[in-house]
Subunit: 356 residues, 4 copies
């Protein structure tokens, strides 16, 4: 089953890049809660393309239209459906024959899976455009979480070789979260922005692209959330995060560094602080045995370089069944990391909402 | 819902370390397939403790007893239940009051989640012993996969600062897989074994423990397997792998290294080879858009250092509600990475079986 | 979780009677299959109101608009979303305060469940109008089933005290199925139509409504479909059928009559017929142990009388917290049985598609 | 997927009649709740065979052994596994070749489904013996429900042509429930017992069997439980009830009688009673729009006559591929209705627990 996530708050994403529209059905939302739609649009604007040179210049309106599930600004408890029309549809023109799959894209894998019947125009159902309804769903979920004191923030942890400062894993400031949540280029240390933009610009100038990492934190989540084994917090978040295109890895707390540590270094000592059990360090990323321990949940995800690059690349011609070369035309994001930040926050919000 | 995985072949793990028994129900197995139970026992022996100095000296018999689902050596199609008796049970003696949670363990998180009612003896349901039925289930699944030409092998990628050679990502030899599948200390380059064992021994001598990484490969899997978005191969495998205790991160293909690469480096060029589409490199780990591309699926997972160490550690006393110190007695694995290798193979087998 | 059905072909119904639109997302459809949209519209027309005196005179266009999942007339394999706009929306006018719940309707139960936040206009998410996307989804599924030789037909088994002839349970003619599938007032014995219409007219004239039963058959389904216990064919179909408003009972084969029979009467004897195992009678409705036996699957469902009647009724005033009387204005279907026939066929198609 | 039910409290039934054992894993039980195991055994005894002439004389011990999920008498929150050993196993003797399927049994349907690999001894996974772990699971769930004031009782509504008095649908006495819950031959009007037993005895004397109906009520369930459409209370209960062997129909409230009623008769008028909204009648069986309305939930299920009868029956020989005759030897229940009563209560308890 594709494109569905969650069992308490279930989201079903639909749409193809050049079809009539994309959208999401969100099932399981609590009746009577008020939603601030302006705040939802802020999140969608953070993901939308065309704001600066790191992103593709194509403009989209991307305004979601609510079909159901809300009355005024209040959730009715019925499934909420929001759609975004695709205004670039050219009906009747189905140039849908895949010749040369783009390296690093889903083209070839999807061609085999769907026997060539999938809509390949603009990447079809695999298009990054499908992250717009994800951000919408996440923006709804995070408003519900905020009423319980749970906040989610992510920042650009690195682009290429340039790194931001990491979160303080034992204490994350509410103001910082607020600032990151409203930033289109979310950084803890804003002084690295110029270097990062240069890294992206350099990639662009060489007709190339560049990857990066995103760090995400969840604060205010109480201890005792999650299930043992296969529904542990790590697995639940990972399944959501790997639903975002271009993500190829995830690590919690100190993550892969833990492999080089001793237990005496990695174990987080407990202590009482104002009558509450806390840990002095947070190497486990707020999760022990798959269950939250009351500290911030922290993870990092890696975003691979945008596969669409303007350089000539080696591929195959599936119709002629021979090797071929490919040049991808048009203008593409040389780096999707900044726009992926609100998407990671969104899937995290959906995941956490399903754990509550 | 805890301890359940899969929707095509569903496994339900049950048991607590000091209860009457542990086991698994496997639902959805195909009727009529023959299972070689000797091969199953080989996998369980690889995971079992007590074989050498890297592992805890406690002996367990761990022989699974089949209650249902097989007639002779043949699957009947009904749910298969296998149980392993716990021979160390002392009935009537429920010293179940948690005072001082062990740092790095699930003790505190579980205490909050279960309001103190969970069985804490030996870690209860969170015990590493619960990986025995996982290995059993995986051993069944991998036999089914092998009939389709799919093989799964993992090795100790690193322990502390000592690393094994990685898999050749575009071509993995059947003999190597066979050798790894039968090794209790699985390495591609056996010459590093001594150095790794020294790393573990050093940790033990300093009353400490050490972490590591495991690399796992799936070969023979055809292109077109997996679903877009949230049921992509990465997410499906990640959810299974994070079900294994002590795993804190996972990366596919080049994983976190991709963040420092350019698209021109990370994109895997396609070419025809003997009439079949292959990629020249395999930086994507055999997965594009969440769907297999016909190359080996490759990932690495990080195992945190065993949290049970003999050094004195800082913790809290939950009954007295004050800070405390803790010394964990008994002998513990200073490194669980070697024994985790067959567990990672097992959950991968269950995950892949659910994708077919 | 509400309004979702299936795990192989999953449908998610959304919408409220007076919201912006209603629709369905269908996930898991096979890529490359062609869909005849005219045939889909035929089924939707059978359900649509306003065709004759048995139905409400309100006209709806109810033309579904495809947002995704099809390219031309071919399924792409991505989730298919179809929406139907509600043209009667008056935005800004949210007269949503429930005073007097209508007897027999969901009003009171929903008021409690949703704390008064659900959209009550026209019944909201509980409106019979939501069966339009169900019929759409079923019409897609039945085309897929027909390619495998599986056909589904239902007829008005009874309205009030007037009964149609039942299906011949061991042999159902293809021409009969074709005729029923295209009829807005589906009867095996058309000579009872006038009596049935009189029964409805009589109810209408006395400001009342009347119930009935629907019989449904699935032919061409091979033996061996279904699962033991909770995913048996009876349970899978029942869960789908009870998703239709106003259904209060279901029985398979001889159903409740079996309670009065002896085993020697109810057991269906096996015999070979043209090299194929058949049963001489079909008292079990084609299902043994939850699994098909190759004979037609046959069941009956009961439709309660439309609860909206024009007579004065006793109810409560939830705002004033006192007993009250209620007169429902407007014109309502005195009998929804004829329009429910294609809905029953539709949910059966979705159920059977999920069993294959 | 077979033999699994529920998503909040999930039960997985396993076992085959002549395998090593049968049992159930129950996942999702709340930690810290105490269970009275004596009360569980009372329910299991009601289902157990051999108590009187209506049942098969074979004796089973059927004592469940807890492997996990309880510490003393308290739920630990981990999956609970209970097993019942099969003491009649003859290992090594796999006379598993199906020649002549028994009419009315799952034999033929299962033979096709499992390609002849299923364990046919004693009916294998389809044996009525598998209802023992169902009753166990239900007995756990009903104790949890009772703490919330919810009670479940069923009685023999009819056997053959002899009927018991029905429940008073608007008010069911706690003492009656208590009495039914402890009765092996549960009747509201005990004066019909003799006539019913005669009906059964008559069937037995003619080497035949007889069916019946069971009526079940749930009291103390508050309004607002259930979901619209496919997770309505009717569908959720129906899926559980059809998981019980031999059930062929279910109806809620007045059920099939509603087809002959007018809306003015079937609509249940609301009124205030002691400040609480009630209905004067309960024709809807306590469910409106799939959601409880605060009145007792009431349904009836039909149990087909036991298919195992001693008369000579017509069948086929699947090995010789020709028509054949069959005489079933051994002694069988001529009527399973009395023993099915606690099974229906049990699945209802599991269903209701999943709705809360």
């Amino acid at each position: 089953m594709s494109s569905t996530y969650g069992d308490k708050i279930k989201i079903s994403i639909f749409g193809e890049s050049h079809g009539n529209g994309i959208g999401v059905v969100i099932d399981g939302l609590p009746a009577g809660e008020k939603i601030d739609m302006d705040k939802v649009l802020v999140q969608m604007a953070r993901r939308a393309p065309g704001k600066d040179k790191t992103a593709t210049p194509r403009k989209e309106s991307d305004l979601p239209r609510m079909l159901s599930g809300m009355l005024g600004d209040t959730l009715t408890g019925a499934p909420l459906c929001a759609i975004i029309e695709n205004t670039n549809t050219r009906s009747g023109d189905y140039g849908n024959l895949l010749s040369c799959p783009r390296p690093g894209h889903s083209d070839y894998a999807a061609f085999v899976k769907y026997n060539g019947a999938n809509d390949i125009r603009g990447g079809g159902h695999f298009s990054g455009r499908l992250t717009a309804p994800i951000v919408f769903a996440g923006a709804i979920c995070r408003q519900l979480l905020e009423k319980k004191g749970i906040k989610i923030a992510a920042h650009i942890n690195s682009i290429g070789l340039v790194s931001d400062e990491p979160f303080n894993p034992v204490s994350i400031d509410g103001e910082l979260i607020e600032r990151l949540n409203n930033s289109p280029f979310a950084l803890i240390d804003n002084s690295v922005e110029e270097k990062m933009r240069n890294e992206v610009e350099e990639a662009r100038m060489s007709l190339d692209s560049v990857g990066g990492t995103i760090e995400c934190a969840v604060t205010g989540i109480e201890a005792g959330i999650g299930e043992p084994m296969f529904d542990g917090v790590e697995g639940v978040i990972a399944k959501a995060v790997f639903g975002v295109p271009a993500i190829k890895g995830i690590e919690f707390g100190r993550g892969f560094e833990l492999s080089k540590m001793r237990g005496s270094q990695s174990n987080d000592p407990f202590r009482y602080e104002n009558g509450r059990v806390v840990t002095e360090t947070n190497n486990c990323g707020g999760i022990l045995g798959g269950i939250t321990n009351g500290m911030p949940v922290i993870f990092r995800a890696v975003v691979k370089p945008t596969p669409s690059i303007s350089q000539k690349q080696k591929t195959v011609d599936l119709q002629k069944k021979e090797n071929a070369e490919l040049e991808i035309h048009g203008r593409h994001d040389p780096c999707i990391v900044p726009r992926a930040v609100p998407v990671i926050e969104a899937v995290t919000a959906v995941a956490i909402a399903n754990l509550m």
